[in-house]
């Protein structure tokens, strides 16, 4: 009898037993090294969590700046150490609250932002040196980064020392998540403008967090998640080199956002392999000399794709395992999708459970006591080698097809991951891919009563009133002047960030600035391919 082969999601066969011979046969231990040293497979810092545990950064934001500010304070009071801001879809797609296309969407999936005033309210009373802020924003990221820097400056912080992150990874938005605005080429140019601007004026700020996360949610395998993210990061890096910057001037501020669901060991190997591979790429292909440029800094987040609408309490347990994987993987920052998130914007209660889950690992379970505890496991080291090879192979395939930018523009990568998502969904429906509570161990029960986040139409009306009040107060001549400058710089191909910073300081709106850019760049047209 031949036994059934076990193949993980990344397409690697899992053996019954691993020994030192397997480690050797898969490439040996050359890439293992020590934490804090090239190639950083074991972690980017020598002491890792002994010095400081991971940052806990739950994704939060809803309704308006005032409500969101209250939730921020709640989370900080409960021990959260960073903020991860969710914006509503009008903000994410460059529309003002009073735009007809925003009707019914204002404040629904995140906080509504029209002007700098909203940022002033949202971060009121929050110490921006102690609490680092991550902005989950992409299509309109240039504008929101400008707002964040302007808000901090107004509060008296030295922008040159300000830390924080923006997601600002537009290429993955074309693959999954979908909050693009401009066509592919000018979108990449805008990302480049933010990197270049921050390298000069806000060198501690991380202007981009390249997201494998959403590509994985869209149907990519774990190894593709990393490989495609690296291809995307390389596209941004190449744009910087074309502008005449040296790799060491910006690579240290690129960060990553990855997903966690699925096989524990495959995930841990994925992150260890990814760290080594990224360091190698930046050192060998880009000639970086500063070790910090080679660091794969990341948020590893317990992914929504793994959670289920069935038996939602099970998601609390899944979240705990995802947090464990994240800790074993040596992440810098952790976030967990909440157990109720398949239904609604998480309640305070659900957010607190996620936070406590991470705190238990730190305080009770010994996850911060030693660095890279799974190193040396024959299985994990072999899988790390195998995963790295897979990623290299996938990156080579992307190159052979003309590169990630071309594939995104044509829609071929979107078609590929979506075909995989379809296959996975069929496997879940047939039971071939087991999912507890979904296709096995189901229980007959009524839809669970979860506490729904109530959408309040009055919040939207209030937000429009606030916007009108700001418009009535601001110096319209200054708004017009700065908006004209944004358009001029866009037309001339200059870096538009200085003009956008001036415009947000004049309280120009997200929609007004976006409109100027659309006049020059146009709108993205989605390639529909199946």
């Amino acid at each position: 009898m031949t036994e059934k082969k076990i193949i993980n999601e990344s397409g690697i066969e899992v053996k019954e037993l691993y020994t030192a011979d397997d480690v050797e046969a898969s490439g040996g231990t050359d890439m293992v090294g020590l934490p804090g040293q090239y190639p950083f497979t074991r972690g980017i810092h020598r002491e890792m969590y002994r010095k400081r545990p991971w940052t806990m950064r739950q994704y939060t934001g809803f309704a308006n700046a005032k409500d969101t500010n209250e939730r921020f304070h709640y989370l900080i009071d409960n021990g959260q150490t960073g903020l991860n801001v969710a914006f509503d879809l009008p903000t994410q797609t460059g529309l003002d609250t009073d735009d007809p296309r925003a009707e019914g969407e204002v404040g629904r999936v995140g906080m509504a932002v029209d002007t700098l005033r909203d940022f002033e309210i949202a971060f009121d009373g929050i110490d921006l040196e102690k609490i680092t802020v991550s902005l989950t924003i992409n299509g309109s990221a240039a504008i929101l980064i400008a707002m964040y820097l302007a808000m901090a400056e107004k509060r008296g912080y030295d922008v040159a020392k300000l830390r924080g992150t923006a997601q600002n990874d537009i290429l993955k938005e074309f693959i999954g998540r979908g909050t693009w605005i401009f066509p592919v080429e000018p979108s990449i140019k805008l990302v480049g403008d933010t990197i270049e601007y921050c390298a000069k004026y806000a060198p501690k700020y991380s202007p981009v967090s390249v997201c494998g996360y959403h590509i994985r949610e869209s149907g990519a395998t774990p190894e593709q998640e990393m490989a495609y993210a690296f291809c995307i990061a390389k596209a941004y890096a190449d744009d910087m080199l074309k502008r005449g910057l040296h790799i060491d001037e910006f690579a240290g501020r690129l960060s990553y956002n990855f997903n966690i669901f699925g096989n524990i060991f495959e995930q841990v190997a994925k992150f260890r392999a990814g760290r080594g591979l990224w360091a190698k790429i930046i050192k060998e292909d880009y000639g970086a000399e500063n070790p910090k440029s080679m660091w794969l800094r990341m948020i590893a987040a317990g992914g929504g794709g793994g959670l289920t609408i069935e038996q939602p309490e099970n998601n609390i347990v899944r979240g705990a395992y995802y947090a464990l994987i994240s800790a074993l993987s040596g992440t810098q920052t952790m976030a967990l999708c909440c157990y109720d998130e398949a239904y609604t914007i998480p309640s305070e209660y659900a957010q607190r459970i996620s936070l406590r889950t991470m705190q238990m690992l730190i305080e009770e379970m010994g996850l911060c006591e030693t660095v890279d505890p799974l190193a040396g496991s024959y299985y994990v080291e072999t899988m790390t080698n195998e995963m790295r090879k897979k990623m290299e192979q996938t990156m080579a395939e992307v190159e052979a097809e003309g590169g990630i930018v071309k594939m995104v523009s044509e829609g071929s990568i979107q078609a590929k991951v979506s075909a995989q998502a379809y296959e996975m969904q069929k496997n879940i429906q047939s039971g071939a891919f087991p999912k507890v509570g979904v296709n096995c161990y189901q229980t007959e029960e009524e839809e669970k009563e979860v506490e729904f986040h109530d959408y309040n139409i009055h919040d939207a009306e209030q937000q429009i009133e606030n916007l009108n009040a700001v418009k009535a107060e601001r110096d319209q001549a200054e708004v017009d002047r700065t908006l004209t400058q944004v358009k001029r710089d866009a037309e001339a191909g200059n870096n538009v960030m200085p003009a956008i910073v001036d415009a947000v300081k004049a309280y120009a709106t997200v929609g007004e600035i976006t409109k100027k850019l659309v006049e020059v760049y146009g709108m993205y047209q989605e390639p529909i391919r199946f």
């Binding site: 879809l89 999954g176 693009w180 379809y422 069929k426 839809e447 199946f530």
Partner: protein, 134 residues
């Protein structure tokens, strides 16, 4: 082209960009032999109605993941009348909680297929209802 194929529009209403589910359903319906027209992201109610009319579809399917399904459907309803699409089958899928199903049915939606629905159920429903309507 097969004249007898059931024509289905799969639309992404509003600003939500989560299209994994919509695209997966498009593939399932194509495999089931339907003629499927996918609108792409960020469609207004009028764009959905126009597309349904231009493509002469039998079924209008919407995929909503970000909670704005009720206001969107309220706006789409008068347009279905304007474009003479009231006799078409109108279904919605995605992150649509049970507490909203009744309100959607009152607006005129024929069926809701929330997250986790089986392809087979969607396909069978369309086939059966299409036969009844034909």
């Amino acid at each position: 082209m097969n004249e007898n194929k059931i024509r289905v529009l799969v639309g992404k209403p509003g600003l939500d960009g989560h299209d994994q589910g919509a695209k997966v359903v498009v593939r399932a319906l194509m495999d089931a032999g339907f003629e499927v027209i996918y609108t792409g992201l960020r469609k207004t109610p009028r764009e959905i109605a126009e597309a349904a009319s231009n493509e002469n579809v039998d079924v209008i399917g919407l995929s909503s993941m970000a909670g704005s399904h009720i206001p969107f459907c309220q706006k789409l309803k008068p347009l279905l009348k304007e474009y003479d699409l009231e006799d078409k089958l109108w279904i919605i899928g995605g992150n649509v909680p049970k507490k909203d199903h009744e309100a959607l049915q009152e607006i005129g939606i024929d069926a809701v297929f929330p997250t986790g629905s089986n392809f087979e159920d969607i396909i069978d429903y369309i086939k059966n209802r299409y036969r009844q309507l034909a």
